[in-house]
Symmetry: C2
Subunit: 319 residues, 2 copies
């Protein structure tokens, strides 16, 4: 939640000469997104977000991310639309960083979503999955099983400093997921990070989905498992099956789940919990004393993972 | 430039029930202000800033700061206007912090102001000084000579780590200012921190003055000396007399400077440079590895101070 790369008004003026989006009226760095530097730009015509992509987002992935938002928006998904420059480019270079201007979406993200919000968000996920069909580019999920192994290799030795027996928990879970991970589920474009801060609401309905910078091709049901982890646990770590039921049932109304997808939910949920546990653990261990972001506590996902390790079927999630 | 205290949408909803400012449409933490946590709130009626006051701003000073903005706005100064709650309160408590909602001003702050911007800003300072007359509350400048001594006591021992002979420079300057500081200049409400980031421009004219959280009662000409330090030096540390002339002459057109004020300018400029040198030095020495703000380089003001120590009269500033 910070601005890493500074953009002076004078830099902005030069940039805007290449775009047909009006005259700037207000320009502020916003505390949003762990990955990038974001600025809210208000012109006399509309609001926009200027994003400068920092080290975690590679320029090589921008055609996928920006093209996907373009594809989804044209199919009715409420997501930011990359604004093309006068020459038709979707992104440019600003202050040494790849940078893009996107349309601004109204709406507010919730900290404590209620079951009806989970339903609205679950339906939005299914809508995203359906709308993503036909998108031409492909991006492998670098944070799936192989990626977890890479993260585990670098984080395991210090894991027990966070919590007793954590290294053992990660190690055995990862081993079992490596052999049992479902590989033939219906797949396509997934968001892969649809936490409540990436869903905007207005009048209790989803008004927008944002932050597509982990989007990739993977099993649709894995995306649902990410959401179960992100939306359906209480602060004390307990699974709220009412929220789970709302989320899954609303999803299914827009995109039915196959028997294989349902049967895989406990494993997928384990994988999703492990993914966030491992990246948070790595961020925690590598936290830079000069960084502008406080790392999130990995232990939230230890609790979730332990829950998933003892579930036996999708019914326990409310499916 | 950060958000220190988090505000969830759910907290915001409870807060807004006490205000008659419309329904929230968008709410984002903004990377602005070293001192406080700031959020940009867009309702269906207008834009607002929600500020949570962190440790550097004491609740006891809020009646002065907020009352001053109210006073100035009612006299035509383009500054944020504190919005009163339904019960008439100018501030409240949110998430354990004093908090206020202020109107949002359009405009953009400049990184590299040109001479005509300096003129517009100088005129705005004089307008602020004139409009501040009649404001009933008084706040001593805690960052004047006595405050510098306090800061010097805690920072001097480590000063030479920043630059050779810096402790000696600070020490002799402070001693000379303690005996020579002008005490009988025309005084009143001053902004005391009118750097370019606190002045908004639209179409090359000042559209707003912001961040009144160092405002206090002091000599008007000291405020001008702060601006000479903040607006009229180039990146290499050279004084730009064209900018100085523009700023001072535009100021004088709205509020004439007395002969005593002019004669005091070199001393006041030394004091202003020492003030920012000392606070930056303290911030540098006390920087918290977990802080969300990178401290600014104190050496910028060493260069300015050395310049002021060799000026002999106001003409060298362009007066």
């Amino acid at each position: 939640m910070a601005v890493y790369t500074d953009v002076a008004f004078e830099d902005l003026e030069i940039l805007l000469a290449d775009y047909d989006i009006g005259e700037p009226r207000s320009f502020k760095g916003i505390a949003e997104g762990v990955e990038n530097s974001n600025f809210l730009l208000q012109t006399d015509r509309a609001g926009f977000i200027l994003t400068l992509y920092e080290k975690r987002v590679s320029a090589g992935d921008l055609p996928f991310f920006l093209g996907l938002m373009d594809h989804l928006a044209s199919r009715g998904v409420a997501c930011p639309l990359p604004v093309r420059s006068r020459s038709g480019a979707q992104w440019t270079i600003l202050n040494g960083r790849p940078a893009a201007i996107l349309t601004y979406l109204n709406g507010l993200s919730l900290r404590r979503p209620e079951p009806h919000h989970c339903a609205s968000a679950g339906a939005a996920l299914a809508g995203l999955h359906e709308a993503g069909k036909g998108f031409a580019l492909v991006r492998e999920n670098s944070l799936s099983v192989a990626g977890w192994r890479t993260l585990a290799d670098t984080t395991l030795s210090g894991a027990d400093e966070i919590q007793r027996d954590l290294a053992e928990l990660i190690s055995t879970t990862l081993q079992s997921l490596e052999s049992a991970w479902p590989r033939n589920l219906p797949s396509g474009v997934v968001h892969a990070d649809l936490f409540p801060d990436n869903v905007l609401f207005m009048n209790d309905k989803v008004s927008g989905l944002i932050d597509f910078y982990f989007a990739c091709n993977d099993a649709y049901a894995y995306d649902l498992a990410v959401m179960l982890n992100a939306w359906c646990f209480e602060v004390d770590g307990a699974y709220n099956i009412t929220k789970g039921k709302s989320l899954i049932s609303a999803y299914r109304q827009k995109r039915p789940l196959s028997a294989e997808e349902c049967a895989s939910l406990p494993l997928l949920a384990q994988g999703a919990a492990l993914r966030f546990l491992l990246t948070r653990l790595a961020d925690w261990q590598n936290r830079d004393p000069n960084a502008l972001v406080r790392p999130k506590d990995p232990r939230d996902f230890v609790k979730r993972l332990r829950f998933h390790l003892q579930t036996k079927n999708a019914a326990e999630y409310g499916a």
